[in-house]
Subunit: 592 residues, 2 copies
Amino acid sequence: MSFLLYEVFQADKMWQNLPKLAQQVDKETAQAILQECAKIAEQELDPIARQGDEIGVSYKDGVVTTAPGYKKAFQTYVDGGWTALGGDVNYGGMGMPKMLTGLHEEMLCSADISFALYPVLTAGAALSLAKHGDEALKQRYLTRMYSGEWSASMCLTEAHSGSDLGIIRTKAIPQEDGTYNVSGTKIFITGGEHDLTENIVHLVLAKLPDAPAGPRGISLFLVPKFQVNDDETLGEFNNVSCGSIEHKMGIHASATCVMNFDDSKGYLIGELNKGLACMFTMMNFERIGVGIQGLGAAVRSYQNALEYAKDRLQGRALDSKQNGVKNPSQEADSIMVHGDVRRMLLNMKALNEGSRALSSYISMQLDYATYGEGDEQVKGETLAALMTPVAKAFFTDLGFENTVAGQQVFGGHGFIREWGQEQLVRDARITQIYEGTNGIQAMDLLVRKIATSNGAMLKVFTDEVNTYINENKDNDVMAEFIAPLGDAVNDLTHLTTDLLAKSQTNINELGASANDYLHVFGYTAMAYIWARMAQVSLSKKDNNGESGDDFYQSKLHTARYFYTRILPRRLSLIASAKSGCDCLFDIDDELF
Amino acid sequence: MSFLLYEVFQADKMWQNLPKLAQQVDKETAQAILQECAKIAEQELDPIARQGDEIGVSYKDGVVTTAPGYKKAFQTYVDGGWTALGGDVNYGGMGMPKMLTGLHEEMLCSADISFALYPVLTAGAALSLAKHGDEALKQRYLTRMYSGEWSASMCLTEAHSGSDLGIIRTKAIPQEDGTYNVSGTKIFITGGEHDLTENIVHLVLAKLPDAPAGPRGISLFLVPKFQVNDDETLGEFNNVSCGSIEHKMGIHASATCVMNFDDSKGYLIGELNKGLACMFTMMNFERIGVGIQGLGAAVRSYQNALEYAKDRLQGRALDSKQNGVKNPSQEADSIMVHGDVRRMLLNMKALNEGSRALSSYISMQLDYATYGEGDEQVKGETLAALMTPVAKAFFTDLGFENTVAGQQVFGGHGFIREWGQEQLVRDARITQIYEGTNGIQAMDLLVRKIATSNGAMLKVFTDEVNTYINENKDNDVMAEFIAPLGDAVNDLTHLTTDLLAKSQTNINELGASANDYLHVFGYTAMAYIWARMAQVSLSKKDNNGESGDDFYQSKLHTARYFYTRILPRRLSLIASAKSGCDCLFDIDDELF
């Protein structure tokens, strides 16, 4: 993480140069935060994750009880001030940049995604409230969310309305005092009810009775579980109740609730009928957060798999006859000798480290968008918008792939619950689904971002990469990366042009190729970041001209592995994306 | 299934031409079997699968109790004579060909893999016993296994010895009466203990005290849970006890047992120190069976996903503006309109139907190996041996991919247990692991089969495909399939030559590329089978020259989808496999 922050992205210099950030953070503060966060993850969260999975959240008569250890761990997290980490400094937040809060999220998720969901949802809701809420709401609620006294949820989905928010039925009736009576049922509400905090602040999408149909008639309301008296003490129950919790494949310690609102008092956030935009402030935050969840689980799976592979003795290396037995004192070699085990581990390592680096790059863009000015800010906003769906879908697809790979390294033991590897698979699986399925992310990238801007948003990214390529085109030691990176970016540009042109006559070309496209984009962007990491590592030669210490050697080898074994994945994806949509749409529904 | 049996592979004619089979099976018998099997799967197994997952197998004081409904379902299965289906006719078996028993297994697994494991393990053990056991053992045990009175297990794995059987520690001490006293502990024993049958016949790998080290010192023993008296009644307890059961990610209704043998009386199967070969008779059967498990789960996932996609209304089609709203009477279209949903469903459809067809092709080779003569038999044996690892690893990798895709189609509901889609993912996951991990299958294919035969085994297959290509090269309507099939087979041949050549100087090239290679082989073989299915479908034009009825149109479209969108997967795999092993082995273990 330090390598990324200070050597690859030079975040410390960036922070110094952004006046709004310079007051809050410097390298020393950042290092202290990361070290303390690692302690919390290792000492408080890791020990409760397995029992959280086995025991899970329980529900009785509307009361939701978290698994043993969660209340204590949450209190420790609150006491450490972590709930304020990324918050607005005007309301008690610490104002830390996303580059730090994102790494903090990764550590939480490596330890326990279920736990992480409670504070991360609250942080996202706080972001929306800080940006769109009025002063009174912020003074009353935001301060208590940052303090960790209260948590929050996002209430979007209804039984008939998941990805299609335009058809929600939850109603908000305006009252004479300027508040709204909110009624309706929301499902799949993470942290909708639990025993970790004394109050829960729900951000609820609802429609006024006379609202326009579709997404342009949606408003956003803050609906607390308990009302708040003028003296800031908790007031009466607000008719917000949990009807049941879901029994799920994974994240068993996260309460996934059916939430009933029954003339519950709500407060408008932002403008009427513009609630979806306000909610998107939270959703975009959470989408990157979900990407980081996938990464976090995969990082943990890799750590476990590597330890297991080094310990597990099975069989002899394939080249034992040619090169001698590697571990003659034992009855078998460690499974690290087997090419296919190395393949699985290196896939995990290259994709995890690439995801963390790309995630940090996106966080950096968000920090420019929030704290930068002028062109720098606009570019940050553009790249963050472009890459949010990539972070969500690409990191979670890879996260799932890698938790599965980390399970596979364990052989039969990977299927047994007590080893913990299968929990990571089950926990990571939801990240591909919630917060907008990965198919929806792909449409967001190709249709909403790239096609709508007629490729302009993509060009902001490819210009940066092409500039980097040009700067390094005469750098011989970088040739092994720069040449294939150039091919990858060219191919991405051509694929984009091709798809946008074809979409003029048949817009279904976009939907049919969106998933392939997102992955081509992801591997290409990751190649760019791996080239930058390789470049830093290559610069670390020691006095004898040898490559640097183990850390940089490892990075360099992993970069080579990525370029050699993983980047070629784009070839198949491009071939598939270019093949057109006819084979998907020429077949009638009845013939499926 | 009928399409495959009678139109693609003309199994009925094959059965007529093989004298040993002609007495047992004809088309009428086969159809009756498949129809009755479908009934059992739908009416007896499907209803118990969800509760089997939720309640699972329980263990107390050595007693293993199956989930509610399993005893009754098993009895119905036994009463229907299904435990005898593929068995040797000389001992009460029905002698049905693998082409039928394989389809029967698929149906069981689509309904409930956990249930299927009990009879399928017994069938595999029976196969080994029938081939290698002596007459007395067969008379005593095989008859009762076919009758369904007794079941069987395969006891290979020990805690320190999973994939590396050469280092097992279970001991067999010769006794004066010709039996052996077997002692040791085996883990991960599917169906090692349960309440479905009155006796359980364990096939146990063990070593004599003076046996040679490694795999050449392994012998195979039949060890019954209860000894059998001379009058065929059950005798005394044979000190075979279950120490515990595993708590697993999936297949909760399958008992996965730690089995303790303590001077348990065992009977040698086959020759001393040649036990691994005898066990491989069972293992190869089970490997294909495990491939079919992956397929079965994926087929069920597709059926569910298709039904859900047709019912679920979310959003409007991307081309609604251009082509009008598809479902104007409702507030949203079915998600079948979305390109990415069609992609997921068509991937599942093309890969499932391709896997079933390729599986049937492999079964046909097994039937030639068992019932054929002369060159036909040798070719069947060669192709079955070549393709067994492909069936195991390729079908299970695709099966897992497809259960995940079928879960994804359900969106958030896919993650909720009550919908059943996530169970299929958890159940399918084990198929990539047990019966030899898929990494081991890949090594079996590339090292043990292809490299050891210096490519000769592969040539048997590519010769058949190239003959087919030549026969059809002037068939214009088939050009869309024959041309890319030709490319695929050529590339496979070149890749093989390349890897075998490189392995002369560095044998690690094989281990490093085995997984990619297996998948290149799989997609190429599947392309061959899809071409044959397309050809049959193209031949079914009606009197007006229009393409045939819905079934054949569906097949043809799916074949085109496979060739357009799936076959290109091989491009990335080939690029990766050809890139050499240096990037996997140049990095020291400490740098991982």
